[in-house]
């Protein structure tokens, strides 16, 4: 048998299949039973934009985010390989582009030529980094890894349950999940009109990697003597980086398709040769870049003057256990929804505008849907950025050496709706469910006159605020279905020094 050297394009295809499969695998094992020590957030941690964003907002590269160097350093040398070799959204966009665009060669060449609008992603990146520098982390809105994990968590995996492939024991529901699903479908559908639309026009991670790859010594090189200007190299070009002319290095995904399409063997990947063509720098005008930066810098304080949970404590903004204080939290959370994927009770929900505009899709607890399981700390285990700290069960439940449990908020009775308080009906389901020992919910045995004057003996519940951890199981299990008679609000949460109600310390 003759040994054929592996074509680079073939290598890239296998690489992409592997990483897409790895992405799906890690997402499926992000679950209490299946985690078993898997690095479930690996792809989120490989993302240099997440690491850079967090570095700008809070001055740290948190734990696994150091793995971003595995992507960053090779990009400096070999170009923007991540986008077509590793990125799950890039690979899915590529598959969608191929499915939607079966055209004649001339049309395909036209669709895969560079357009000025591709520069938009660099301005978006600049705006997002300026925001991060001011403490607001919004990269997660467009970062492809966070976007894909969020879309799969809130839309694709639950849809599989409803189509009959059981992923969850109880198919989860998500607040505004249809919005997340719709945007994801729109991104895939956009490939019908422009192949790799998201990757070429919007992706801030692609832009960052493009900037990093500017001086990569290894790149696609065109031999000016061999090239006949047939433009066939354009036909399957994924980055639309114009390999037929002077290559736009920052746009090139090193997908290696052009190497296979060139009939003259005029293209090679590697170091420049004497007759190699020149290359073009990033198509960004300095003036526009300055405009973008100044515009963002001016708009940002105005954005901050709108009310958010960090300026005014907000009752329904109950954050997962171990979350940083609201300001710091918004500086770390990339809205990836990994915490919502792993949450066993579905209580973690993507916020819409509850936490302010900056808090879109950040996790909040909606106790009508689930509750925080007392001994569960999975959300902090999977959080790639440390917006939710990696706490232990001991710390969460306040066992020694920890003096106090972590409180998410405090439960309050609505006496107008509580069955024993308002209607003389026995209940105290909340007391039964309360997980602390001693229970934060206690009751008095009261003799109350019934409608006919005869005395009724009732157990009427109270909350002991010093014991309440705000887990919300009382609210979830309350039989008053639509608006429970006991509800948790964020006041008293451990992570805030200001959102408190009780005087600390004790008197005589």
């Amino acid at each position: 048998m003759r040994l054929v050297p592996l074509k680079l394009r073939t290598l890239r295809r296998w690489w992409a299949v592997f990483f897409l499969a790895l992405f799906l695998f890690l997402l499926v094992v992000t679950d209490y039973h299946r985690m078993q020590g898997w690095q479930t957030s690996l792809l989120l941690e490989l993302d240099p934009l997440t690491a850079l964003g967090g570095l700008l907002t809070s001055g740290t590269v948190y734990k696994g985010l150091a793995l971003a160097l595995i992507v960053l350093v090779p990009t400096l040398l070999f170009g923007r390989f991540f986008c077509s070799w590793v990125c799950p959204l890039g690979i899915m966009n590529q598959i969608a582009s191929r499915l939607f665009n079966r055209r004649r060669p001339a049309q395909e060449q036209e669709r895969n030529a560079y357009r000025p609008v591709f520069a938009l992603k660099y301005y978006l990146l600049a705006a997002l980094l300026v925001l991060a520098l001011w403490g607001s982390l919004q990269i997660g809105l467009l970062d492809p890894i966070a976007l894909t994990v969020r879309s799969f968590t809130a839309a694709v995996l639950p849809a599989l349950d409803r189509l009959g492939a059981p992923v969850h024991l109880h198919p989860p529901v998500f607040w505004g999940g249809a919005l997340i699903a719709g945007l994801f479908l729109a991104i895939l559908a956009a490939n019908r009109f422009m192949p790799r639309f998201f990757c070429r026009v919007l992706c801030p991670l692609g832009a960052l990697l493009g900037v990093l790859s500017r001086r990569a010594p290894f790149r696609i090189q065109r031999d000016l003597d061999k090239c006949t200007d047939c433009n066939k190299c354009l036909r399957h070009c994924q980055g639309a980086c114009d390999p037929h002319r002077e290559l736009r290095v920052a746009e090139c995904h090193v997908c290696m398709n052009c190497l296979e399409d060139c009939p003259e063997d005029a293209l090679h990947y590697g170091l420049a040769r004497p007759r190699s063509s020149a290359h073009l720098p990033i198509d960004v005008s300095r003036r526009r870049l300055v405009e973008t930066v100044v515009g963002t810098a001016v708009a940002f304080p105005m954005l901050r003057s709108s009310v958010s949970a960090s300026t005014v404590p907000t009752a329904p903004v109950i954050r997962p256990p171990g979350s940083l204080s609201e300001d710091e939290f918004l500086g770390r959370c990339i809205k990836c929804a990994a915490c919502m994927r792993v949450c066993p009770t579905n209580v973690l929900q993507p916020a819409l505008l509850e936490a302010g505009i900056e808090g879109l899709w950040t996790p909040v607890l909606v106790n009508r849907i689930g509750w925080c399981e007392q001994y569960c700390v999975l959300c902090g285990q999977v959080c790639p950025t440390g917006a939710i700290r990696r706490i232990s069960v001991t710390e969460k439940s306040g066992q020694p050496p920890h003096a106090q449990p972590i409180r998410l908020g405090t439960a309050f009775y609505d006496h107008g709706r509580c069955l024993p308080w308002a209607m003389h009906v026995p209940c105290i389901v909340c007391e039964e469910m309360c997980p602390t020992s001693p229970k934060a919910i206690w009751y008095e045995v009261a003799q109350v006159p019934g409608r006919d004057g005869r005395p009724i003996e009732l157990k009427r519940p109270y909350v002991e605020p010093k014991l309440c951890i705000g887990c919300g199981i009382c609210e979830n299990k309350c039989p008053v279905e639509d608006l429970p008679a006991i509800r948790v609000s964020s006041v008293g949460e451990t992570r805030s020094t200001t959102n408190q109600m009780l005087l600390k310390g004790s008197s005589g």
Binding site: E373, C427, I428, V429, S437, E481
Partner: protein, 311 residues
């Protein structure tokens, strides 16, 4: 013209077939009843066996042996469901769930008696996956040769409970797909009704908004005990949750009971268990109600009962 006539005819037929005085077409709901899982009574054997000791496996074997052996209850080839209390995401030492060794022993006895299938199932209050794993019951059940069945959202079927309060409720379908049911509760404190024992353990067959049952808890417990008649009951009193129930959480709430009680009379077993919680039958209304309904005898001393010590 022909096509037009065809469409018009088709529309007419469709309207004729679909015409209704009701706004929505509804299928007649299929409502099932639970079978009686009991075996014939025997005068040869006691109805209540109390065993003290420190080895749960040996205690369970002794207690069931006193009742005539598992072969009396589970026959070769039968499918058995073991129903422990696995309500909570708690560890065995916290005594909020049935002792896993007791569950394992019951499963092993069923297997030895020739059961073709043994399922261990419950409708948990905390996350079921966490509850079964952290209670140790998943590992014990699997190790002893049982399959753990966690009911999902679609695993409930409308069931006529035939009670005075409980009529049609969603019941875990596993109880409809089985020949024998063994109740394996634990002795725990419960604020609203005083204690949760064998009869109260049947809350764990229900789906739906079962938290409403608290509004008439004694009647619901008796209704449930009447609807689900188990083959055998094995009460775990190895550890007893004395207060802060039914969730517990602190080891201070737990007392060592070192006892297993097996029997065929749930009322008698519950009445016996009260002494571990410092309660008397007159303070637990559902016991007298159960006796009135003919579910059993509160005065367990009047029955044929035995007590022994192993190990």
């Amino acid at each position: 013209m022909g096509a037009l006539a065809g469409v018009a005819t088709g529309a007419g037929v469709l309207a004729w077939l679909a015409y209704s005085d009701e706004p929505v077409r509804r299928e007649e709901a299929v409502v099932r009843r639970l079978p009686d899982f009991r075996v014939p009574a025997s005068t040869m054997h006691p109805v209540l066996a109390v065993v003290h000791g420190t080895q749960p496996e040996a205690m369970v074997r002794e207690a069931i042996g006193r009742l005539g052996g598992m072969g009396r209850f589970v026959h070769k080839g039968e499918r058995v469901l073991v129903k422990p209390n696995v309500g909570w995401d708690r560890q065995p030492e916290q005594a909020a769930n049935t002792n896993p060794e007791v569950v394992g022993a019951v499963v092993r006895l069923c297997r030895e008696a020739g059961a073709s299938t043994v399922w261990v199932s419950d409708v948990s209050l905390n996350d079921p996956a966490r509850s079964f794993a952290r209670s140790g019951i998943q590992a014990a059940a699997r190790g002893a040769g049982a399959e753990v069945r966690l009911p999902g959202a679609n695993d409930f079927v409308a069931t006529d409970m035939g009670g005075s309060l409980l009529r049609v409720w969603p019941v875990s379908r596993f109880f409809h797909e089985i020949d024998r049911v063994i109740n394996v509760p634990i002795v725990k404190h419960h604020s609203l009704c005083g204690c949760t024992l064998a009869m109260k353990n049947w809350y764990g067959v229900l789906g739906g908004r079962r938290n409403q049952l608290h509004q008439d808890i004694h009647t619901s417990i008796v209704d449930l005990a009447q609807a689900v008649r188990p083959t055998l009951t094995v009460m775990d009193a190895v550890r007893v949750l004395k207060r802060n129930g039914p969730t517990g959480g602190s080891l201070d709430d737990v007392a060592i009971g070192n006892t297993v009680v097996a029997g065929l009379d749930e009322v008698a077993i519950d009445a016996w268990s009260l002494q571990l919680l410092g309660l008397t039958p007159d303070r637990v209304r559902y016991l007298a109600m159960g006796q009135e309904r003919g579910l059993g005898t509160v005065d367990w001393r009047a029955l044929n009962w035995v007590e022994s010590q192993v190990g």
